[in-house]
Each structure stands twice: as C-alpha cells, then as structure tokens.
Subunit: 502 residues, 2 copies
C-alpha cells in the first residue's frame, strides 16, 4: 500500500513556484462553482503518520481555496458527552452540506486504527467496523458526496528525521509532542494495521490516496492537484442518474396473501379489559424506563402507518407512562432548507437520543421507501439502495446500544374512510383532512406493495417490524405498549454487557 | 413572595374532573393555532422546591397538550463539554422556535440560586447575573417570545410531608432522592435566596408565578389555566409594533466631523515595509494562538465594512497565521428557514467558539443596526433596542472568557467605485457585482450615519470598535493584524484569572 510513497518524491522550488499560481486560481474557481451551484459536498479526510504534514497540508488548502467555505474539523478521542451518543454521531454532525468543502483531521478511521495498534479489540470487530464504514461511505457517495481519503506516509527513518527537523524550527516545534515520539515506537504495528485498513476500505467509490509526506512541496502540490482533478471530473460527469438499475422486482404472490392481508383486523379489546391492561402495561413501561440497565441504552420508537391509522393516539398512551424530561417526540414533516442539502438520513441523525433517553418518531426514515417511492420523489435507484442503508443505520444504532422498535399500524380502507369522515365532521378544525390525504387513498395499492417490500427487506433480528392490527384503537394501543415493554425487558435483562466502544 | 402559596390551596376531585376536559380542549386548540401560525415561541420555566410537583406538572402538560410540538429540556449542572462554552450556550440551543412550546426543567436560574445557597459567590456577582438575565429575557420577549416562569412552593413542614408521601407510593418513590432530603436542610437559606432572586427578576415582561405545590389538582389546574390565559391574551394583542417609540435621535454634528470622516484615508504602507510587517505580526499571532492562557479563552473576530472594503483580504492575512484546525470562518448570508423562526442573535449563537478556538465572522450581528436599519427590514423599535442587546451579548461573552474584537473597514466612495469597476473588468466571474451592490452605494449617507451611531453606542471597554483606514489594502491588513495581536497580548498576559463560572 505504501510502496510508491517511499521513493523520495521531491519538487524543486522553481517548479513549485511556477505551478502554484495556476493551481490556486483553478482551485478557487472550481470551489466557487461548487458553492454557487450547491453542487455536491466535498469530504476530505486527512490522515497518516505524525510529522507527515497533515496540519501543514490543511493550512495550505485553506490558503489556496476560499477558507470561508471550508469547514475544518479536528477529531481527537471523543469527549465525555460525545461518548453518550453512537460512534458516528459527531461525524454525522460535521458533514459539509452541498456546495462546501469539509476537511476532517482525524476521522471515523482514527479510533479503530488506534485501538487495533493498542491491541484491545478482536480482529473480527475491526473487520466488521470497516465493513460498516465502507457502506456508510457508499451511502454518502450515492447521496452525491465526493470523498477523498488521504494518507500521508513516511519511511521509518524518514519519520524520525522529519520530527527532528520540525522540532529544530521554532515555527514548527509545537507540532511535535511527546505523543508524536511515543507513536514512532509503534511504527511497524501502525504500518501493518493502517495497511490492512486502507486495503479493505479502498473502495471504488471512496479510494485511498497515499502521499509521501517527506517533501512539503511535493505533498502540497500533489494533494492540491488531486482535489482539483477530482472536483472537475465530478462536474464533468453527467449528473443524471440514468445508470442501469435493475427494474424493481417485487414479490408477486399468486394468491392474495401478504404480510398485511394476513393480519386479522377483527381483533378487538373491550373497554374494561382495555383499561385494566392499559394500567398494567403503562406501569411496567414506567418501571422499565428507570431500569438500571436503561441508563446504558437509548430507545427509538418509530411509528409508520397510513393516515388516520392511530399513530398519535398510540404515542400518547406511551408517553403517559414516561417522565416528560426523558423523551422527545419528533413529528416528521417536509425537510427544511438546511436538511435538504444533506443526506436524507441527516434529519433523523439530528434526533438520535443519547444514553438514557428516548426519541419517538411520528413517521420516519422509511418515508424514503414509502411516500418517496410511491410519489416518485426520488429515483428507483435511490429507494432501492435505501433498504440496505437503513438496515446499516439501524444495525449501527443497535451495536451502539440504541434500541430501535418500529411499528406499522394497519387499518382497512373502509375504516380509514370512516375515520376521515368522522374527522371532517367532528373535529374539522383540529385535524383538517387535506386534499393530499384523499389523494393518498387512491394510491393505496402502491402503498400496500411498498409496505410489504419494506417489511420483507428491513425486518431484522436486531430491529424487527412489529405489525399492528389497528382497526380497533384499544387493541392497537395495548399491542404497541406491550410490544415495547417486552422488547425492553428482553434486552435490559440480557446478561451480556452493552456494547458501546468498538 | 411566597405568602399566597402557603394558604393550603385545594381543588376537590369533582371540580377538577369537571374543569379538566374543557381546559384540555382549549389548550389543545390554542396550541394548534400557535403551531399553524408559527405565531410566537412559548417558553415555560418550571422551578421550585423538591417535592413540589415539577415533574408531575410537566407530565400533565404533555398529557393535556399535543406532546409532539412540545420541546422539554431538563437542565442539571452543565457537563464537561458544556462548560467549554459561555454560560448561556446550552440554553440558547434549547429555545423553541416560533409556534412551539418549550418547557425548561431547570433553567438559567438554577445554578445561580444553587451557588448562592452554597455560599460560594459574592452578592454582587448574583446581582449582576440577575441583571443580565432580566435583559436577556427582555430581548426574547421583544423578539416575540411568551415567557412564563413558574416557581412551585411548599411550606417548610409541607415539604417533608410531601416527600414522605411520595416515598410511600411505589409509583412515585423514585422521584425522591437523597439529594431531595439533603436540600430540605437548607430550606430557609433557599427560601431567602429564591425570594430575592424572584423579586429582582419579577419583571413586567417576564413575571414569576408562584404556585403552591401541596395539592396536585390545584397545582395542575392553576398552571394549565395560566398558560392558556397567557397564550390567548398574547393572540388577542394587536401584534403590530406601533407602540410609541421615540423617533431615532442621531447626533447631528454642526460640522462635518464624525468618527468616519475623522479617519485619515491617505495612510499607506509601501510593499517592502508591508512584507516585513506582515511576517512580524503573523509570527506573533501564530504564537499568541498557542499561548497557554489562550486555552482558557476563545476568540471572536467580527468584520464589518462597506462592500469591497477588503474584509476578505484582511481575514486571509489572519488565517494564514493560524492552524486551520483552530478556527472557523462564518460568512453571513441571508438567514435560513430554521434561523428565521428564532431571535436574530440565534444564528450567531450557533457559532460561538468553545475554549481554545476562534470564530471569524465575515459580517455580523451588527447587520441589525446597519443593513436592517437602512433598508427598513426591521422596525425602528427593533434596531433601537439592538444596541443594548448587542452590548449585553458581547459583555456576557467577555465575562465568560470569549474575547470579541470588532473591525470596521472604511474606504472612500471613490475607492469603492474604483474597486467595483476593477472587479467587473478583471474578475467578473468570480466576484460578480450585483445590482444590490450598486443600489447600496446610493444609500451611502444613510449607511454613514448608521455606522457612526453603531460605533458610538456599541464601542465598550470590554469590546471596543477598531476603525480601520482601509483605502490602502496593505496598511489596513497590518492594522488589523497588529490590533488583534495587541488586544490578545493585553488580555492573555493579564494576571487575573479568567472568569468562567458565575
């Protein structure tokens, strides 16, 4: 992986001074085109050995481009607060929006590599983590991002020489810390680990670029040119997404049986029975939310269902059992301006709860494979890849201790109509039925198929779909409450410790 | 302050059950009107004694209103990360946008009261802090917020009785902690402190409402009715801002001398001299940014100036001396959707740096008293009150260790015209001159007056305006750099420790 970066690359001063002005002008022009078109986000990871010029390169990029539109984030080990969220949380929040350049000094690779060098994780953990990173980066690229991953390399004796030289110069001496020297001692182990990590994450959509760090001029010029070139190529690409995508293949059963029609919508609960059960399950939920093990987890409740299926009512029966300071309800409406220039999962990332807390989503990221699919708000390619992306997202949450419980509330077309009419009559002011609600009804077959596909493709062991017969409100509410309790009991009483750090 | 809340208020079950359904319906209706109109934010502070029903009341409010549009935040002592920002930072970020209800369990009052009870701050510190809070709340109210501050009171023996009763019931026992009992020991001291704090912050725009907490039904009903009443009254108020505001009085000097015309725009720096000085000051700045005392401060550089005054160029000469991982440049454009439903300072609060870091604003909160005043984007009342609000904001930053250095870059009308024409010719693509730039020129007299007023009213000892003769770019850049260095040196080398906690 590092062979080409040990050859002693060098650029002399004259050649450098000739090239730089042209490169700067071109970089600036391309950056401003990026900004004006809000074309795509550019994510640049700067990593590599101590003394290989990471800081210097970042500074040069700020000098060569317009620093007002560069977001640079330095990631050291996560702080106390950051450890209360999933591993990726702080990176999610630092992603540049479309039109901007984000430079990451330290990244999602730093901790896994450091841990591996310190030898405190099994190989499978690393390998699984790299797999997740590959899929995460693929998602970003599919969402439009340009990802450039730089690794600055130095030969073994070269590193010691560079560090000594930096230490001698009073302008750069501060860059060399005790830790820099300490890390030179693990040079071989780091090379081996980094080599492995770089190879397995050297994907076509987000390849690694290994640059020799010995000569400042060579390193800066190389990085600058690669960034310029990559941005230009990205602009040149026809941006239409008409690459061949297999037409969506849906399971067409030859009978009328599917996961939704299989539900028995006649299920009912009488009022007295409902009251007894409500008290029982709310009491249990209230205790579970204060279970000692819950303080090491977090909970996401995800509600989906056709209009008027009773999501709001079910949610209120849950929150009645909780302390209001422990949960947050997020009703999902159209994305805001700031959300539209980010990957579609970004607006859900914002609300991922930290440990000990609960977020309830009233409609969710499944909008991608439901309304966006049916209404053709996104391409086939987009919603087809969303199943895997969503599974990855939920898996990661699970591995980081966030329990995801997701519900589909099903009612019949007749019952929906009855509820619409009732709302129009009785509570016309509060729950106005919009034109859209009526229109959605016409597409009910498409939605039906979309829901069946969704359940088949995203119901996983870690995060199964729970389908609720919601024709009778009482029955549905108890089913939801009891399902939440049972899932929590299983996980919170499990003997295995909660995984947090990878 | 607490007399009326020791009378043993009670509501019997029958009266309660009769009143509640009406109250709920009315609350819900009003809340939805609030939401649909995105009318104003409702900020509810819930504070008071242990056992007085804070948690229970918050839960009831969630039950009675639509919890999806309530944002409830519980504030305990600030975490490690939160302590790296100014005191108000975590509250700024929790404010509800227009149309929503925000409930604060614990607030900006909690820490000052707790400290005073623990006796570890001088009375003047508390008094100054309360003064700041009053002005902060006034600003929120002027920005449209409805603030309701509840204090739940219990008589001394009443508190012990309530805590015992809560402990007996297995459903509420968890609410009583060791700390609750510990705090009963300081009942008198707390009463005395809270009484004082409530009195001095009992302003007409954000009054305290003291509610007796002994009887759950009385407390819930009282709080619910007050909230309903306050929201309704707020809707009923004519929302036009035509209350009598003194017409803006501006210092009209009888000669042509003012802070801007007094500047000597012929000041120049020759190229060689510039190069020497640039190297010198950049070297010093680079060292200052790594000064040990800087790790306990943060730095905001605020740049204002007419179009083409050279803000961008000056900023780049500063950043060239810094490590790119230490600073962030925030170019101020039109506010986004999420920013428009918040107070005008909110979009700057977002970018306040944490300790050891630097934020550079390319245009700032002074837009309120410059462009918004001149272009009449806000009312006279709005920009007139902004001077004091901005002074408060900057004072608070200073007290919390954030150094604010602000620059006005001044050029003559002729020089501006020359630069516009040059840009149009030479770099037409990169820096397109917009219609707006030309239009702004026509209002130059109004801008001139606005700048003079701004300097007079917001140049404080803690955060003085630095006016830069910017006709010659070299001269301006060195002036800016040297001013930053000198200000930093004065503060960082001062013997007094940085104040952080109040």
């Amino acid at each position: 992986m590092f062979e080409s970066a040990e050859l002693g690359h060098k650029i002399d001063k004259k050649a450098f001074n000739e090239e730089v002005p042209r490169l700067r002008a071109a970089l600036l022009e391309t950056q401003l085109e990026l900004l004006q078109k809000a074309a795509f986000p550019v994510i640049i990871l700067i990593s590599g050995l101590d003394g290989a010029g990471k800081g210097e390169t970042i500074n040069i990029l700020h000098e060569w481009m317009d620093p007002r539109f560069i977001m640079t984030c330095a990631f050291a080990a996560p702080s106390g607060d950051e450890r209360e969220y999933p591993f990726m949380w702080r990176f999610w929040h630092a992603l540049p929006p479309r039109g901007r350049v984000g430079i990451f000094s330290g990244s999602w690779y730093s901790e896994p590599i450091a841990r591996q060098v310190a030898d405190d994780q099994p190989d499978e953990a690393l390998s699984q983590h790299m797999d997740q990173i590959n899929r995460f980066e693929a998602m970003l690229v599919n969402e439009g991002a340009l990802i450039l991953k730089f690794w600055f390399h130095l030969p073994k004796d070269g590193q010691r020489k560079r560090l000594k030289a930096l230490e001698k110069d009073p302008r750069t001496a501060w860059r060399v810390t005790k830790e820099s020297w300490a890390r030179t001692k693990t040079y071989d182990k780091l090379q081996q680990t980094a080599g492995h990590v770089l190879r397995v994450t050297n994907t076509p959509w987000a390849p690694w670029i290994v640059v020799e760090g010995t000569d400042d001029r060579y390193r800066s010029l190389t990085v600058g040119k690669i960034i310029l070139d990559a941005m230009r190529k990205r602009f040149a690409e026809t941006l239409d997404q008409n690459f061949p995508v297999a037409p969506p293949i849906t399971l067409k059963t030859t009978d009328s049986l599917d996961v939704l029609t299989a539900l028995d919508l006649t299920k009912k609960l009488e009022k007295d029975d409902y009251k007894t059960q409500l008290a029982k399950w709310q009491g249990r939920l209230s205790e579970l939310a204060r279970h000692p093990a819950f303080a090491r987890h977090a909970l996401i409740l995800a509600f989906e269902g056709m209009d008027a299926a009773g999501k709001g009512g079910a949610i209120r029966r849950i929150t009645a059992a909780l302390d209001a300071r422990q949960y947050q309800i997020v009703p999902i409406a159209a994305p805001t301006e700031e959300e539209r220039v980010q990957p579609y999962l970004w607006r859900f990332w914002r609300h991922v709860p930290h440990v000990g807390r609960i977020t309830i989503f009233d409609r969710t990221w499944y909008g991608r494979v439901l309304v966006e699919r049916v209404e053709e708000f996104c391409s086939n390619a987009d919603w087809l890849r969303a199943y895997a992306e969503i599974n990855d997202f939920e898996n990661e949450l699970y591995d980081d201790g966030v329990i995801v419980i997701k519900f589909w509330l099903q009612i019949s077309a007749q019952e929906q109509l009855r509820r619409f009419k009732e709302r129009e009559k009785v509570e016309f002011k509060r729950f106005k039925i919009t034109e859209e609600d009526w229109r959605n009804r016409e597409k009910s077959k498409d939605y039906h198929t979309a829901v069946c596909d969704m359940v088949d493709r995203t119901s996983t062991g870690k995060s199964p779909w729970i389908l609720i017969e919601a024709e009778d409100k009482n029955y549905a509410r108890i089913r939801v409450l009891s399902a939440v309790c049972e899932r929590l009991e299983t996980i919170l009483n499990a003997p295995e410790a909660r995984k947090r750090q990878r």
